[in-house]
Structures are given as structure tokens and as C-alpha cells.
């Protein structure tokens, strides 16, 4: 082995040396790290940094949202009323539960329980899928009511609230204010769309993890990938925790 010649001195090598004494590296230790601890430190730090870039990405959109919400508050209130709080609430509950099952999956992986880990991952995946299904139903309703920004956007619900059960009883908006509801829905679709895209990517990764987990890849002591995926999943969850009140709960006291 080249490595045994390379690892010769230095305080940090102590752990690696100990491993040698016990008959070689653990198989998951990559060649350029000196010890398992160094590898774990580096990769978890990298994951946190990656999540930081994600914060900046969503942060850009939150800034856009906050500026327009400040400028066009009545339009944003009226737009927000069109969203279904019950469905949004159910989705929030689904996603928080999925974070819980994700944590259980990580715990099971650490405890080296393959069956439990797979079960929890399947549950997480299913909760994510139901979330996307509910989101799809909400999108469909918006299409039907012509609340999707673009050429076919309709101001009917805001100019004439009584024509729309969701807006019935509210004060009609003047035309110039009503037109700004389109911006609300632009941001609604852009932000929830980006969030959904992150979930779809996450579910793709989850499918990959499930595929490998059957062979026991994560229940043999090296759980790093599942743990980092869990961090990603929690992050996606947290984004929703911000999106839900910002989009659904404006002025619903």
C-alpha cells in the first residue's frame, strides 16, 4: 500500500496509526484523509456550507418577497386569502412529520438497524410524496381560477369578491391594487416551485439511499451520507416553515 508509507509522522496521524495496528483502515476512509474524525469533520462542515449557499439562494427570493409585500400590502393580503390554509396546514404537518421520520431513519442507521431505517425512509418518502400531491392539487385550483400569472391571469376574484367563494365578504380592491395580486402569485409559484424542486431532488436522493440501504450500505457503521441527507431534508422543511406563514397567513389573525 502506498498509504502506509505516506502515513509516517505528525500528531494527527495517531488515529490512523492505531487503525493500522488493528489491521488497516476502515474501508470508508478515503485515501486523502488521515483519520475517520478528520473525514467526518470535513464532510459535515462541507454540508453546513452547502446549506449556507442554499440559505443565500432562498434569501434572494425572500428579499424580493418582503419588498413587494411592503409596497403592495393590500394586494398581498387579498392574494393570500386565495390560498387554502387547511391544505397548507396539512402540508406543514406532513413535512414536519417527515423530518421526524427522517431523524428516526438516521437514528436507526446509527443503531445499525437496517429494517427500521428502510421503514422510516419509506415513510419519509411517502410523506414527501403526499405533500407534493397536495401542492399539485393547490396548483390545479389556481390554474382553474386563472390565478397563474401570465396572459390568462384574471382579476375577477379581487375586483368582484362576491363572485368567488374564497374572497366572498371582503372589500373589492381598486384596479391598480388588484393588478398587483399577480406579483403575489408570481412569488407564490416561484418560491413554492423552487421549494418543490428541492423536495423532488431530495426524493430522488432518497430513492438512491433506499436502493443502497437494502445492501446494508448505511448500517455498517458509516452513516455519514444518510446524516447529511437528513440535514438537507430538514433544511427543505425549514424553508417551508418560513414559506407557510409568509404566503398563507398574511393578515389571518
Amino acid at each position: 500500500m502506498q498509504d502506509s508509507a505516506v502515513v509516517a509522522q505528525g500528531a494527527r496521524n495517531a488515529a490512523a496509526m492505531a487503525d493500522h495496528a488493528h489491521g488497516g483502515h476502515p474501508t470508508y476512509l478515503l485515501h486523502h484523509f488521515n483519520s475517520v474524525e478528520q473525514q467526518a469533520d470535513a464532510s459535515s462542515f462541507a454540508m453546513w456550507l452547502f446549506l449556507l449557499t442554499e440559505v443565500m439562494f432562498f434569501g434572494g427570493m425572500f428579499v424580493v418577497y418582503l419588498i413587494y409585500r411592503n409596497w403592495y400590502y393590500p394586494a398581498f393580503v387579498a392574494g393570500s386569502r386565495q390560498l387554502n390554509v387547511a391544505l397548507g396546514g396539512i402540508n406543514s404537518a406532513l413535512l414536519i412529520t417527515s423530518s421526524f421520520t427522517m431523524t428516526l431513519a438516521v437514528w436507526n442507521a446509527r443503531m445499525r438497524r437496517k429494517g427500521g431505517m428502510i421503514l422510516c425512509l419509506v415513510l419519509t418518502f411517502a410523506l414527501g410524496a403526499v405533500f407534493l400531491g397536495v401542492k399539485g392539487a393547490e396548483y390545479k385550483e389556481k390554474f382553474e381560477k386563472h390565478h397563474v400569472p401570465g396572459e390568462h391571469y384574471s382579476l375577477q376574484s379581487f375586483l368582484n369578491p362576491d363572485s368567488d367563494p374564497a374572497a366572498a365578504g371582503t372589500r373589492p380592491l381598486p384596479l391598480d391594487e388588484a393588478r398587483h395580486t399577480e406579483l403575489f402569485f408570481s412569488l407564490y409559484f416561484a418560491m413554492t416551485g423552487m421549494h418543490a424542486l428541492h423536495m423532488i431532488i431530495g426524493m430522488g436522493l432518497m430513492a438512491y439511499i433506499l436502493f443502497r440501504a437494502r445492501g446494508g450500505a448505511y448500517t455498517a457503521g458509516h452513516t455519514a451520507f444518510v446524516e447529511y441527507f437528513g440535514m438537507y431534508w430538514h433544511f427543505v422543511d425549514i424553508v417551508w416553515i418560513f414559506l407557510f406563514p409568509l404566503l398563507y397567513l398574511i393578515n389571518r389573525h
Partner: protein, 559 residues
């Protein structure tokens, strides 16, 4: 030029390139395309960014040729718009941003801190593929009709008034942005977690500090550019109206998001270059960099201040007077850490034993040209003069002094400085000194007249101009031709040196960095024995003692 030199080469009659090194370890195209070795990825990047540099350079040549005469005679106005846009897009996103970090940084940063590789080798390879995917997509957009918004994609021009490949180019930059994010992320993790025993933060070479600061900007800034581009693409594809004044959107908001990245991006481009200059100045004046700590922290200060100056690109775009006041002040603050660097390099040279090999000639070029570029930046940061000078050739000259005069000089300094380490062979010294001088003359002839043109009021981004500006434009085009020769020469002689250059040995410059303590070209695992850092950075006495010990060992074994 004086004949004294620090170059110490092994006896050419017996010297050989080490048989086992990172180039010879594995053979075949696949061993390169699937490599996880940071040095090989650095070489892949070097080849690809050189390719994009020459495309961007050819476009620059077309621009200068069109501007030789006051009329629009070489190309139609629309074509001219596309040519300068693609010149900007390619040079900024596919050359300047990755130039030093992805090539020299990739290759040398792990070696300098005594690591075997970057912390995430697979992510590193992925970042090269993302870069290539973005680059190819950008070229595809260029060939299938181009884009004519300028590299800034300013709304509402980019969203409503042009019908060119904005979406494709936007996606290309989006993808290349991830490449940049992954490089930055990898560097930060590597510098934090992979340092050799004894390599404390304040023993890091200043090149590492500079790349660390640039990496922070890459990681925090690039995602905001990504989201700005996503919103432009959504606007064009679905008409979501976020930047459309007709629907209550604010086009200026796009510029805020865009410049929140794109101003720090100029520091992403220049900081690694400053790192190169620190290494070169110290090595060729045989002195520790004066005020090491100040130079290290000035990199971080530039990165931090860099995030709070973006609106100075928008002084005439309708931001409030108070914003102008604040951003003007903050902009001038950036001049402080930049000046700290220039002064400290000057003090390093003071009473140093300076020799005049090619890398330091480029470094001198950097110091002079960057100073002019930086000082004219203060003119532009002052709102009173900015209103007169913005959107004129003064701006063009200013950022080319910083980017071409600064960054490109630093890049070439770095390439020459580390060429012996990368390839094991020396470049030919005389002709490369000549090329450095040609580049300097060509550069000044190209861009100095543009300062004058700008103060006279010649606007940028037009294919034609009033006849009284012609003489200065002729100078500029003539200079660009000389500059082109200055860039072609290194390509020729560096390629030549791959086969015929003198064998360099481990440490031809007698430099102190850890990368020079390994063989040239290095082994795949960089070091045979894990290095232990037991001295400060740029400790030339330590190096002398080290060599003394080795000599004694040789004498002892011979006797």
C-alpha cells in the same frame, strides 16, 4: 537586465524528470476525465480556461477592429452588441472567475497546506464538469444567435426588449455558478480541516489566505446571482412580472440582486491574483512579506467590505441620494485594504535582494496597473465624478486596468512561477521576459487612451463614434494587437518547454512554500512523508539551514 539570478537548476547532464509523478501514474484519456487528483483537475481547468480565454480574446479583437474607424463598417450594430456581450460573458464567467482559483488554486492550495488532496475530490471533479457544461452551453448560445444584453442582463432590456438567447446564456451562467460555488466550498473546507500538523492559520502562505477570502465570496455571493438569473429566466419564459414595471415589478431590484453577486465577483477575480503576487514578490526579493498579518487580514477585509458596495454600480439608475452617499463612502473603504496590500508589497521589495525573472516582471506590472485601476475606481465611487464618467470608456478602461492589467498579469505571473513545479521543466527565460514587457506595453497602449476617451465623453457599447475620437481609438487598437502578441507568445514557448525546457528540479526559485519541498512534477499523493510545518511562512533562513543540512548529508555520504 542584471545577470544575477536566484534560479538554481540541477546538473542538466544527469537530471531527469522523476519517473513516478501525477502525470505518469496513470495513462489514457479516461484516467484524466475521471480523475480525482486535484493536480490533474487543475490541469484540466488550465486547458479549458485557456480555450475560453482565446475565444473571449478573439471577440475582443473583433471589437477593437470595428472601433478602428468611426463608422460601423466591419459588422452590423446588432452583431457588435452580441460580440461585446459574449466577450464580457466569456471573459468574466468562464475565464476571470475560475482563472487563478480553479487552476493554480486547485493545483497548489492543498500542497501549500500539506494536504494530499482537496477535502472533496469528487465534488472538485464535478465542478470541472459543471464548468464545461456551462461553457459549452454558452458557446451554443453564441453560435445559435448570441445574446446582446451586455454581460449584466439589465432588466427590462433582457426581459422585454431583446429577442436573443437570454435564457440559454442565463442557464449557462447558472450552471457555471455552481462550479464556482463548489470550488469555493471545497477550498474553505480544505483550509479549515486539512492543514498539516504545525500549519497554523498564521503560517499559511498568503496565497491561501487570498483564496480563502475569495471562496467566502463565491459561497455567499453566487447563489444570489443564481436566483436573480432564475427570476429573469422565469420572467422571459412565463412572464411572471417580478421585474416588469407594467405589473408593479421593479427592474432596479434585479440590479440590486445582480450586483450583490457581481460586485463581490470582481473581488473573487482579483483576490486570488493578489495571493499570487504575495508569493512572487516574497520569493524574488528573498524577504518575508512585510506585515504578513496585515496582508492576510486585508484579504478578508476586502471580502467583507466587498459585500456592502454593490449599489455603486447604480448611482445613475435611480437609487436614492442617501443610498448613493452611503455606498460611496463604503466603496472608498475598499481602497484601504487594497492600499495595505500595495504598500506592504512595496515595503517587502524595499532592501530586498530583487532579481528580475519573468514572474516578478508580471508582478511589477500588476502593482502599477492595479494601482491605476484602483485609484480610478475611487473617481467612479465618488458620485459627483461618477455621474460624468459612468457609461463612458473611462469605466471600460478602469475595469480593464483591474481585470486585465491586474488579474491577467497576476495569472501569468503565477503560471510562470509555478510552471516548473507543474511540469518539471523551466520555461525559456529571455523570451518570456520579452513577452512580459510586450504585454505591459501593449496593455497600456490599449487601455490608457480609453481613460482619455472616457473623460472626453465617448460612451461605451456603441459601434460608431464621432470622428474626432479616431486617433485615440487607433492607438487603442494598435495596442490590442501588441497585447495579442504578448498573450500568444506564452502559449507558444510554454508548449515548447513541455518537451525542451531545462529540467527544473524540486525548487528552482529557492522558494519556501511546502509545494516546493516536493518533487516536480509532484507525486499523486503530493508528499512521500507527511510534512510537519515547524517554521513561519516565507522563512528563508529555515530554507538555508535545510539546504545546509542536505549538503552536509551529501558530503557525508560521498565521503
Amino acid at each position: 537586465m542584471s545577470t544575477s539570478t536566484i534560479v538554481r537548476l540541477p546538473d542538466q547532464s544527469t537530471a531527469r524528470i522523476p519517473k513516478d509523478n501525477f502525470i505518469t501514474r496513470e495513462n489514457g484519456l479516461l484516467s484524466w476525465l475521471l480523475t480525482r487528483d486535484h493536480k490533474r483537475i487543475g490541469i484540466l481547468y488550465l486547458i479549458s480556461i485557456t480555450f475560453f480565454f482565446f475565444i473571449g480574446g478573439a471577440l475582443a479583437g473583433l471589437i477593437r477592429l470595428e472601433l478602428l474607424t468611426p463608422q460601423t463598417d466591419l459588422m452590423a450594430v446588432d452583431t457588435y452588441n452580441k460580440v461585446f456581450t459574449m466577450h464580457g460573458v466569456i471573459m468574466i464567467f468562464f475565464f476571470l472567475v475560475p482563472s487563478v482559483p480553479a487552476t493554480l488554486g486547485n493545483f497548489f492550495l492543498p500542497m501549500m497546506i500539506g494536504a494530499k488532496d482537496l477535502a472533496l475530490p469528487r465534488v472538485n471533479l464535478l465542478s470541472w464538469y459543471l464548468y464545461m457544461a456551462g461553457g459549452i452551453l454558452a458557446l451554443y448560445a453564441m453560435i445559435t444567435g448570441g445574446v446582446d444584453t451586455g454581460w449584466t442582463f439589465t432588466t427590462p432590456l433582457s426581459t422585454h426588449y431583446v429577442n436573443t438567447n437570454v435564457i440559454t446564456t442565463g442557464l449557462a451562467i447558472f450552471i457555471a455558478g455552481f462550479s464556482s460555488i463548489f470550488t469555493g466550498l471545497n477550498f474553505i473546507v480544505t483550509i479549515h480541516k486539512m492543514r498539516a500538523p504545525g500549519m497554523t492559520w498564521f503560517r499559511l502562505p498568503l496565497f491561501v489566505w487570498a483564496n480563502y477570502a475569495a471562496s467566502i465570496l463565491m459561497v455567499l455571493g453566487t447563489p444570489v446571482l443564481a436566483v436573480a438569473l432564475v427570476l429573469v429566466v422565469l420572467e422571459r419564459a412565463f412572464g411572471i412580472g417580478v421585474f416588469d414595471p407594467a405589473r408593479g415589478g421593479d427592474p432596479l431590484l434585479f440590479q440590486h440582486l445582480f450586483w450583490f453577486y457581481s460586485h463581490p465577483a470582481v473581488y473573487i477575480m482579483i483576490l486570488p491574483g493578489m495571493g499570487v503576487i504575495s508569493e512572487v514578490i516574497s520569493t524574488f526579493s528573498r524577504k518575508r512579506v512585510f506585515g504578513y498579518t496585515a496582508v492576510a487580514f486585508s484579504s478578508v477585509a476586502i471580502a467583507v467590505f466587498g459585500f456592502f458596495v454593490w449599489a455603486h454600480h447604480m448611482f445613475i439608475m435611480g437609487v436614492s441620494n442617501y443610498a448613493v452617499l452611503v455606498f460611496s463612502l463604503l466603496t472608498m473603504l475598499v481602497a484601504v485594504p487594497s492600499a495595505i496590500k500595495i504598500f506592504n508589497w512595496t515595503f517587502t521589495l524595499y532592501k530586498g535582494s530583487i532579481t528580475f525573472e519573468t514572474p516578478i516582471l508580471y508582478a511589477f506590472g500588476f502593482m502599477g496597473l492595479f494601482t491605476i485601476g484602483g485609484m480610478t475606481g475611487v473617481f467612479l465611487g465618488t458620485s459627483g465624478t461618477d455621474i460624468h464618467l459612468t457609461e463612458t470608456y473611462f469605466i471600460v478602461a478602469h475595469f480593464h486596468f483591474v481585470m486585465v492589467g491586474g488579474m491577467l498579469m497576476a495569472f501569468l505571473a503565477g503560471i510562470h512561477f509555478w510552471w516548473p513545479k507543474m511540469t518539471g521543466r523551466m520555461y525559456p527565460e529571455k523570451i518570456s521576459q520579452f513577452a512580459a514587457v510586450v504585454t505591459f506595453i501593449g496593455f497600456n497602449l490599449t487601455f490608457f487612451p480609453q481613460f482619455i476617451l472616457g473623460t472626453l465623453g465617448m460612451p461605451r457599447r456603441y459601434a460608431s463614434y464621432p470622428p474626432e475620437f479616431q486617433i485615440l481609438n487607433v492607438f487603442s487598437t494598435a495596442g490590442a494587437t501588441i497585447l495579442g502578441v504578448g498573450y500568444l507568445l506564452p502559449i507558444l514557448y510554454l508548449t515548447w518547454s513541455l518537451r525542451y525546457g531545462a529540467i527544473a528540479g524540486d525548487n528552482p526559485w529557492q522558494a519556501t512554500g511546502l509545494e516546493w519541498q516536493s518533487q516536480s512534477p509532484p507525486l499523486t499523493e503530493n508528499f512521500t512523508v507527511m510534512p510537519v510545518m515547524d517554521h513561519e511562512a516565507y522563512d528563508y533562513e529555515w530554507l538555508e539551514q535545510q539546504q545546509e543540512r542536505e549538503n552536509q548529508k551529501e558530503v557525508a555520504s560521498a565521503g
